[in-house]
Amino acid sequence: MKKQVTKTLRGKKVSRRSVLKGAALAAAAAALPPVGAEAAVWEAFFQKHFQELNDRDLDKIIARLEKEYADRFGKHISVTASKPIPGVLFGYGLDIARCIGCRRCVYACVKENNQSRDPQIHWITVLRFQKGDKWISDLENADKYYNPAKVPEPGYFYMPTQCQQCEKPPCVKACPTQATWSEDDGIVVVDYNWCIGCRYCMAACPYGARHFNWTRPGLPAEEINTQTHYLGNRPRYPGVVEKCTFCIQRTRNEPGQYPACVEICPVGARKFGNLLDPESEIRYCIENKRVFRLKEEVNTHPKFFYFFAT
C-alpha cells in the first residue's frame, strides 16, 4: 500500500501514521488529571475496580470519599461497603391488588437514596392503567403522570416499577467496563467510579429502571441521608448511571432493616425478604399467592414478584 504523506507548514513531510499517533497521545494527556492536581484526584483516577480491591485499599478509598463528601456537603457522611450476607438472596413482592398509586414509595426512595432533586431522578415509577384496557403488554404507553386529587381512582389500577434485580441482568451484559454486576445476595450494583456514562445498560434494561445523572446531582446538604453504602446511595458523580439497590445500606445488615419503600407503603403492598429462607414473607407470597414477573418472555428472571393477595 502506498504510504500517505502530508506536508507540514514548514515543509517537513509527516506520515499519516505519526499524525494519528500524536493525536492519540495528546488525547490521552488531556484525559489525565491536570498537573498539580491533588493526590486524591490521582488516587481516584488510578482506583481499581471495586471487586479487585482488598480491604485496606477499600478503607483508604472510603476515607477519601468521606473527606470529599464532608468538603462538599459540610457534614460527615458515613460510607460503608458491607458485604453480602451468606445464605441470603433478596427477593421482593408487590401486591397489585393493594397498591393505590399514592407515590409515597417514590419519594421515600428519593430521600433514603440521595437521588438528585433537580434535575429530578426517581428510581420508582408508578404506572396507571385503566381497567379493561391494554395492560402488561403495553407498559411503555402506561400513564405515569396521572395527578388526580385523590387516589385510588375508580376504574383505574396502579403498578409501581423499579429495578427488578434480574438473575440474568441484561444491563450487566451490556456494560463495557464491568461497572455494574450482580452481587452474591442478588443485588445488581453500580460502581460509580467505574461507570463511564455510556448508558448502554439503560438501553439494555427492559424495565426502564436505570437513570442517568446528566449534571451534578442537585442534592441539598440538609436533605442528605448520611448513612450510605459505596454501591448504593452515596452521592453520585455527574455522568454516571444509578438504580434501585433494594436499599443496600439498610438491608445488608444483621439485623437488616426493610427497604424504605416497604416501610412507607400505607397499604402494606410491598414485601421483602430472603428467597432462600422457607419461612420468609417473600417465600410465603410465592408459594401461596398468584405471582408473576414483568416481561418473563425476555428471560431476565427478575427477583421482583408481583402478586395478588386477594
Binding site: P119, Q120, K144, Y145, Y146, V151, Q257, G268, S280
Partner: protein
C-alpha cells in the same frame, strides 16, 4: 397438638354451653352465661409471634370504657346513638347484620367478645376481626397483609387491623397522591 389443646378445650366448652341458650330465654339468664371473668386472652396461635404491635388507636379519653359503662344498664336494641358516640356509624361493614354488641362485650365494655364467648382485649382485636376475615388473618400472621416496619431478618412491628381500618367504617379512604414526575420536556 399440645399447642392447640387449650383452643380445642375452649371450643368444646363453648359447644356445651351454647345449647343452654335456647332462643327466647330471659336476658338475665343469658347474661349469667356470658358473665365470665375477664379470662386469659387465650393461647397465642402460631404466627402471632413476639412481634411488637403498638397499642390500639383509641380516640383520646375514650378508654377504659367501663368508666362510663360500668354503671349503665345495657340497652341491647338497635338504635341511632344520640347521647354519646354519635360519630360512630357502621358503614361498609355489613351494617345490616351488625350491631355494637356483636363485637363489644356487654358485660365488661373494656373487652371485646368473640362469637365463642371468649373475651379478648383491645390489644388483641385481630382475633375478633379474624372470625370473619380468616384468609386475611392468615395473611396478616404470615406478614403478607398489612404494613410492616423494622427488620426483615429480625424484630418487626406489626399493626393491628384497626390501625389502618376503622372498625366501624373499614374501607380505605382515598388519599392525596404525591406529585407526578417531571416530564422530560419540562426538564431544564
Amino acid at each position: 397438638m399440645r399447642r392447640f389443646l387449650p383452643f380445642v378445650l375452649i371450643v368444646c366448652i363453648g359447644a356445651v354451653l351454647t345449647p343452654a341458650m335456647a332462643p327466647g330465654e330471659s336476658s338475665a339468664e343469658e347474661k349469667a352465661i356470658w358473665r365470665t371473668e375477664p379470662v386469659e386472652t387465650g393461647p397465642k396461635e402460631k404466627g402471632i409471634p413476639e412481634f411488637f404491635v403498638p397499642p390500639p388507636p383509641f380516640s383520646e379519653g375514650i378508654f377504659p370504657c367501663s368508666d362510663c359503662h360500668a354503671d349503665q344498664e345495657t340497652n341491647p336494641n338497635r338504635r341511632d346513638l344520640t347521647e354519646m358516640h354519635e360519630d360512630i356509624q357502621i358503614i361498609n361493614h355489613a351494617e345490616d347484620q351488625r350491631w355494637c354488641l356483636d363485637c363489644h362485650n356487654p358485660d365488661d365494655r373494656d373487652y371485646l367478645r368473640l362469637a365463642s364467648g371468649r373475651l379478648v382485649s383491645f390489644d388483641e382485636s385481630y382475633y375478633l376481626c379474624g372470625q370473619c376475615h380468616g384468609t386475611i388473618f392468615r395473611d396478616w400472621k404470615a406478614g403478607i397483609h398489612g404494613r410492616r416496619t423494622g427488620e426483615w431478618n429480625g424484630k418487626k412491628t406489626y399493626r393491628l387491623c384497626v390501625h389502618c381500618h376503622d372498625p366501624h367504617q373499614p374501607r380505605f379512604k382515598p388519599i392525596e397522591p404525591l406529585p407526578p414526575p417531571v416530564k422530560p420536556k419540562d426538564i431544564k
